[in-house]
């Protein structure tokens, strides 16, 4: 197929990378793990003049983990590295929840967290947690660099983000976990344990004196982009942590979802699952918040 004819470029420095991106003006794609990009090219869903591999850039390979300062995840860090990192498991467990259910073992071993973000699939597993945790992305071009939040302003529509054609994402930054705070991710793979997520919820909850002091609920795969369930958050903020409050938040979140029907699940099912998953994610997040607070 003509869509499989392109140049393969492998810059040796980030300056060369930005220069190549500028020169190809939107007709190039960055190749990291390739797990989404190559199948799309092969099926003719995408055509490019050039693939620019970042495989020769060691500075994008770094993964810095620090419980106090947060995470710095380079663009080449594989999903499996997040899923299996003992310190991330200890201090950022929701990232591990999401990374572990992303696609298959083989894809996790090749695909990158940054790629999962840039691909902007509505059902990307790693995005809702990054969003809930207030993660940022740093973008570079010949024009300089900027840092943008991974939130609903980052994703424009399925497959589209605020990243300009001449920019690349160098690393993601995840802030440290605030005190008395837990984060969780729950998803539904409706047809098999290896399936695309049909609905997912990430929740961040700060608990104080048995009440929800602050929280963030992010819904995945039930809208064109990840959605923040602000009404559910509003309803739960300040309330005591009990099953009724969590169930109500779940019902509200379900009304905020904007799901579609497809071969994976019907819109009705997705919406109903948002209620269940919200409740479960809040419950896990609260348990983690309480565990974090207890003396060790």
């Amino acid at each position: 197929m003509s869509s499989m004819r392109f140049e393969h470029l492998r810059p040796k420095s980030t300056d060369e990378l930005t220069a190549l991106l500028a020169r190809h003006a939107g007709r190039a794609r960055i190749l990291a793990g390739g797990t989404d990009l190559l199948p799309r090219l092969r099926r003719g869903l995408l055509s490019v003049d050039a693939l620019i591999s970042i495989g020769a850039l060691p500075e994008l390979r770094t993964l810095e983990v620090d419980a106090a300062r947060g995470l710095r995840i380079g663009a080449r860090v594989r999903i499996a590295e997040i899923a299996e990192h003992p310190l991330i498991q200890a201090h950022f467990p929701a990232l591990v929840d999401a990374a572990r259910v992303t696609a298959t073992t083989q894809i996790r071993n090749m695909g990158t967290i940054a790629g999962n973000v840039c691909n902007a699939s509505p059902c990307a597993d790693n995005v809702p947690v990054l969003f809930a945790r207030g993660a940022t992305a740093t973008l570079h071009s010949v024009r300089g660099f900027r840092t943008v939040p991974i939130d609903d302003s980052f994703f424009l529509s399925p497959g589209r983000t605020v990243i300009e054609p001449d920019e690349y994402l160098s690393f993601l930054r995840v802030p440290s976990t605030p005190p008395s705070t837990g984060v969780a991710y729950h998803n539904i793979e409706p047809r098999s344990r290896v399936d695309m997520t049909a609905a997912s919820v990430a929740a961040l909850v700060t608990v104080e004196d048995g009440r929800v002091r602050e929280l963030r609920i992010v819904l995945g795969a039930v809208g064109p982009t990840p959605l923040r369930a602000t009404e559910a958050e509003h309803a739960l903020r300040g309330r005591p942590v009990d099953d009724t409050a969590l169930a109500e938040a779940g019902e509200l979140a379900a009304t905020e979802a904007r799901p579609i029907s497809d071969v994976r699940a019907s819109a009705d099912y997705r919406r109903r699952m948002v209620a269940v998953l919200t409740r479960r994610a809040l419950r896990t997040a609260i348990e983690r918040a309480l565990a974090q607070r207890s003396p060790t």
């Binding site: 409706p190 047809r191 029907s261 071969v263 019907s266």
Partner: protein, 789 residues
């Protein structure tokens, strides 16, 4: 300790190492100098007249070496049912009509795959679209478009079975229930897509290496399609990555590859893509089955009346066999003293259905077993007890069809009840949990000669050598099921040799004795196994003659081949090594090698099979009552496959069957839109993965069968059927949802739980936006059960 040295032992697969290390070369791995790469052009329309095909631009593209359309090929219709030529309804390339999305129109061969693909996009086809039909009921209704000129009402095959007085029996029954079931089409999803590599010699004779289950059938039909004589075509089966019934016919790319190889003088290879396989490959038949079954108050079955409508898709393929077998399998497992079946195979504009593991049994037994479970509930008899009261036993007959040569079905039922702790767990399953049962019976090879061969059904040649080795040549085709291991096991046992003494050459129509009808209908172990035994017996007879002479044995001595010796039975001191006996015999015969050919053809064994396997399976499920998700936690199987020749191999077959049954029950279906497959990838065609597999526990009830080699019966196809009804029954136990169609989805379960909890309106009607292939999954026909007064 076993009386046997080789059979009955866990002999590792002879191909296991090569496959596990990636050294096994499949057709797509083979490459020859100058080889061209072929691709097929397929119809985008479900039903259309081809007005004009313009291949000029494709031919002019640099790198293209051949473009073939129907005009370039002999006008030959082919199909597996040579016995009834009117059923042979396919040509390699569409002549003037395309009948499904994916119907092959042209083939291109080029220097690489990308060029061939580009050439496909340059072929211009003008179509006149025709009205199309997508399910059996619409297709056989008056005024439906005719799909094949020769078939006026689109019903291409009708099969009937009838014995006893069904109407009287049902009228006199204490309890009768009638249910309508709709079963979906599913894919074989073999891991190796179809592929072939053709070469031609200077005289135009063809060698075709192809991923097939049936080299002999491909040889015969390919010769006829090209206008050659049978033996001007040589077919070689290399390693094959699964077939499950989907690779047992001549296919268009095989004809095109051979034709182009003859035309260009260059080797040509075709490898289908996964998308082609899922969107256009053969499928299991979607069926609508209506079944009425009557019982006496005590649970005794008095009669059964079944009608089946098979959605055959655009061509007959193995539909004629399926149409009969649904009737056969609907009468299996239990004694049905009065029985009537009418099956119709209906053409539609869906991708053609074909043979798939179980051919007719998964559908028929889902119906039988679900009805048994529903009847047990209404009759207030334990489901296993109800089965025991009706179970088929050795010697039972199905009038004019078959006699049960051996059956340990009752023993299987009792064993599976013990294994699963049935009584206790049925009473106290635990919250969100359920336990269910499904059973099976299957044929061990078919006796009906639909291919109309003049050869023996199976053959085996054995060459014995003075160095103590023997060479086994057979056309039997290992497609992953294990006959390359089991047939040498049988030979080693028969001749008293070790596995490493046997060399195997298999599945090459020019090198191995004709014929073997191929791998289907669970026939190979029984039929090729018996052919191997026949050849071995002939070899032994020669060796015994020589040994008796050499050892000056009294005529009262029996002889045996054992432990590498030819010896007097009970007198191990009086023997000669196997190789020495061969050498002496050859010298006596003035140099003639010791070669014998064995044959097997079932005769006087009814219409269906020499013998049936039986088994019972219990599934344990856990249901998440909030998400509706079903987890199958454990599957218990007790099966009667006669004597087990290789326990490890039988266990592997069972695991594979459970995997397929699990997909059929819970996740596999096609999403179709006017004949177009919307989920033609493994991302969205949901086959269960290793992570979805339940724990499996199994026991074999070993009662040697009189007709199988060493008493063996089939083991790899029957167990594909019980899993779906067992899971459905367990889901019903856990949630109250009783499935009349598959797959059971989380949404079905939630709806049932809502109804049970009394808020039926909370849940919207089932989303009907993407109906499955020929399968109205919304159908919820209510049973018309009469409970005894």
């Amino acid at each position: 300790m076993s009386e046997f040295r080789v059979i009955g032992h866990d002999v590792p697969r002879v191909d296991g190492w090569a496959k596990a290390t990636g050294n096994a070369r499949y057709t797509g791995d083979l490459s020859l100098p100058g080889m061209l790469h072929g691709r097929m052009l397929r119809s985008p329309h479900p039903h259309a007249r081809i007005v004009h095909v313009d291949t000029t631009k494709a031919r002019e593209l640099a790198g293209v070496r051949a473009v073939v359309t129907a005009r370039d090929l002999p006008n030959v219709r082919y199909g597996n049912w040579r016995l009834q030529p009117q059923t042979q309804d396919e040509t390699a390339l569409a002549q003037d009509t395309v009948r499904f999305v994916g119907d092959e129109i042209a083939a291109v061969a080029a220097i690489d795959v990308d060029t061939a693909d580009e050439a496909l996009s340059l072929i211009r086809v003008d179509y006149e679209e025709l009205p199309a039909v997508f399910d059996g009921r619409t297709s056989r209704a008056a005024g439906a478009p005719r799909i094949h000129e020769a078939t006026a009402n689109n019903v291409s095959v009708t099969r009937q079975i009838h014995y006893g007085d069904v109407d009287a029996a049902l009228a006199g029954a204490d309890y009768v229930r009638e249910d309508v079931f709709e079963l979906q089409a599913v894919s074989h999803a073999y891991l190796e897509p179809c592929a072939c590599l053709a070469e031609a010699d200077a005289l135009g004779r063809v060698t075709l290496t192809t991923s097939t289950q049936t080299p002999y059938i491909v040889q015969c039909l390919l010769a006829s399609a090209l206008g050659l004589r049978e033996n001007e075509v040589r077919v070689i089966k290399p390693y094959v990555g699964g077939g499950f019934g989907g690779k047992m016919e001549l296919r268009p790319w095989e004809v095109c590859a051979a034709h182009i190889a003859r035309q260009t003088g260059r080797p040509v290879r075709f490898v289908l893509s996964r998308e082609e396989e899922l969107a256009t490959g053969r499928r299991r038949h979607a069926m609508r089955i209506t079944s009425k079954v009557g019982f006496r108050r005590d649970g005794t079955i008095v009669g059964k009346d079944v009608t089946a409508e098979l959605d055959g898709g655009a061509y007959n393929s193995m539909g004629p066999t399926a149409t009969f077998l649904v009737g056969n399998f609907s009468a299996m497992l239990y004694r049905f003293p009065n029985y009537r079946y009418r099956g119709e195979h209906v053409y539609t504009n869906q991708p053609p259905a074909g043979a798939m593991r179980g051919l007719g049994a998964p559908q028929a037994l889902f119906v039988t077993e679900t009805q048994m479970n529903l009847a047990a509930e209404e009759l207030r008899i334990d489901p296993i007890e109800l089965r025991l009261r009706n179970a088929m036993k050795t010697g039972d007959t199905i009038p004019d069809v078959a006699t049960i040569a051996s059956s340990a079905f009752s023993e299987c039922l009792e064993e599976v009840a013990r294994m699963s702790d049935w009584k206790t767990k049925r009473e106290n399953p635990g919250k969100g949990k359920g336990l269910g049962i499904g059973c099976y019976s299957f044929i061990s090879g078919g006796v009906f000669n639909w291919f109309d061969t003049q050869y023996a059904f199976s053959s085996a040649e054995v060459r014995a050598y003075a160095d103590g080795t023997v060479h086994l040549l057979t056309m039997a085709s290992d497609i992953g099921q294990g006959c390359d291991t089991v047939l040498p096991q049988i030979l080693a046992e028969e001749l008293g040799l070790r596995m490493e003494d046997i060399t195997l050459t298999a599945a090459d129509t020019a090198m191995t004795p004709k014929a073997d009808l191929g791998t289907w209908g669970s026939r190979v172990t029984l039929m090729a196994g018996n052919a191997v035994r026949d050849a071995a017996a002939k070899i032994r007879e020669e060796l015994f003659r020589m040994a008796a002479l050499r050892l000056r044995l009294n005529v009262i001595h029996e002889l045996e081949c054992k432990d590498g010796m030819v010896r007097a039975k009970g007198r191990p001191d009086r023997g000669i090594p196997f190789g020495e006996a061969v050498a002496m015999l050859q010298k006596a015969n003035r140099g003639e090698p010791l070669v014998r050919v064995g044959y097997y053809t079932p005769r006087d064994m009814g219409l269906v099979t020499p013998t049936f396997s039986f088994g019972a399976q219990v599934a344990e499920v856990r249901v998440d009552e909030e998400t509706g998700q079903i987890t199958v936690e454990r599957v218990h199987t007790a099966h009667d496959c006669g004597r087990v020749l290789n326990p490890m191999s039988v266990e592997g077959q069972l695991d594979g069957c459970i995997q397929m049954g699990l997909g059929y029950a819970l996740s596999e279906r096609f999403h179709m839109d006017r004949g177009k497959t919307l989920n033609a990838s493994f991302l969205d065609y949901k086959m269960p993965t290793a992570l979805d597999m339940p724990k499996s526990v199994s026991r074999c009830i070993e009662i040697p069968d009189p007709r199988g080699p060493f008493g063996a019966k089939e083991a790899g196809e029957g167990p594909v059927s019980p899993t779906a009804p067992a899971i459905a029954h367990a889901v019903q136990h856990a949630t109250g949802y009783s499935a009349r169609s598959l797959p059971i989805t989380a949404e079905d379960v939630l709806r049932a739980i809502d109804e049970k909890n009394g808020h039926g309106n909370r849940w919207a009607p089932r989303d009907n936006a993407t109906p499955a292939a020929g399968c109205g999954v919304t159908a919820d026909p209510s049973p018309t059960g009469r409970v005894p007064a």
